[in-house]
Amino acid sequence: MKIIKNIGSYFLMLLKVFGKFTKWNVLKSLIFKDIEVLIIGSLGIVSVISFFVGGVVAIQTALNLTNPLIPRNLIGYATRQSIILEFAPTFMSIIMAGKVGSYITSSIGTMRVTEQIDALEVMGINTYNYLIFPKIIALLLYPFVITFSMFLGILGGYIASVSGGLCSSAVFIEGVQIDFIPFHIQYAFIKTTLFSFLLATIPAFHGYYLKGGALQVGKASTVSFVWTSVVIILANFIITQLILA
């Protein structure tokens, strides 16, 4: 019953987010601030993880190519497909649920327990719009982060393969280009855009409706990470069924 109540509250919250809008001048500065924290602030961790995971995917593929009949360009092909279809859009989103999601829950949750949200409400501000809408807009830039992740993942695979002597540069690049379906990029971007909305709103929900003190802020961050990850995985399954199956 509690889950159904929470789902209902989540959708009611979304309605209120698009209710009375905050003054544009204020909203603009909040959006830029959130872009800086949520998008630019995530580029570092995204770069490191993407680069090394791309490298590991290439090494794992190469090590499993024991049959001499299978061409070595499969290393580049497998790296590209893994990174573009799943790693960058889905698994990077789960990592972001930990980084960005926890930040959103704890920042809004702290504002709740220190009565800052009450102060905004008493001023007559639509706190849903003021606190959550800028995060939704800022995270619309999330597909650019994923593009970055895709590029670095494949680059990581290339460097690991070539420097490790797993295949030549030309063979890896040939694998990356082989049977390329441009629609897969669109599919990844469609997923990412939906995930960005989930990344902004689910953690915001857990922060906004938080009750208690500092301990509950920590607990809410953990719960929000779990729920955001679960919903992303479920949404990934549904979207993949609808678009690719």
Partner: protein
């Protein structure tokens, strides 16, 4: 003026406020006092519109808060200033930004005009040279001053203070009480203060209502405190045996 007319508030079938009626007058410091859990914060939140009473009505200058539409309620809230117990300063903003925030949200003034007004209220609450400090760099008393400055920057008609002295030493508490009292007279506003600090009650309590277990037990001014015979109120005010004996001695004189 704020008029509270027979309000009831329930939480999970527990009645937290029972048939509360009161009048909070303009230009006066009105105090809601009582022990922890007596319902004073709930009453304050009802006045602020953060809680809706199950029964009864609240009037702000004869306009019923309970019957107001959301738009009218937002307009009314712009006429309110509030000082929260923990100050509730926006911790990502400096002192100056905190104070300028309501003006940026609700006025069409240019940046210079907003800054001038912010400096004016900063000076009024004796906080000069702190404009660029962050709330975390301020002492409790200074945070309260910033909260008061933010509450009065829009020239509100109604000022609400929830435990303005909590966490402050007695000397700073008196300074904050006097500041609120001076501002009430200067701006001729209706001030409602939620407190259990007896120093505040004696210093600035022009109109006091005493709550116990969600019921209004007593009403009067700081001048009436020594004359009252209300047992619950006497027990609250003279909570220690020494004070009770002192009262008895004063009465016998």
């Amino acid at each position: 003026m704020i008029k509270v007319n027979s309000i009831y508030k329930l939480f999970d079938r527990t009645t937290v406020l029972k048939n509360i009626s009161a009048e909070f007058e303009k230009g006066k410091t009105n105090l809601i006092i009582g022990q922890s859990g007596s319902g004073k914060t709930v009453l304050l939140k009802c006045l602020l519109g953060l809680h809706t009473p199950e029964k009864g009505k609240i009037f702000f200058d004869n306009n019923s808060l309970t019957d107001m539409k959301e738009k009218e309620r937002r307009k009314l809230r712009q006429e309110m200033g509030i000082v929260f117990q923990g100050s509730a300063l926006f911790d990502s903003m400096s002192v100056e930004e905190n104070i300028m925030f309501p003006m940026k949200m609700f006025t069409n003034k240019n940046d210079d005009e907003i800054l001038d007004r912010a400096n004016e209220v900063i000076k009024r609450v004796n906080l000069t040279n702190s404009n660029d400090k962050m709330p975390s760099e301020l002492s409790g008393g200074m945070q309260k001053r910033v909260a008061i400055a933010r509450a009065i920057v829009m020239n509100p008609k109604f000022l609400f203070c929830d435990e303005p002295n909590s966490g402050l030493d007695p000397k700073t508490s008196i300074l904050i009480d006097n500041l609120i009292n001076e501002i009430t007279k200067e701006y001729n506003i209706t001030t409602v203060i939620n407190t259990h600090d007896m120093n505040s009650v004696m210093e600035i309590g022009e109109n006091i209502i005493f709550l116990q277990n969600g019921i209004k037990e007593w009403e009067g001014s700081n001048q009436d405190i020594f004359k009252t015979e209300n047992k619950s109120f006497i027990d609250f005010v003279y909570s220690s045996e020494i004070l009770k004996k002192a009262r008895k001695a004063l009465k016998n004189k």
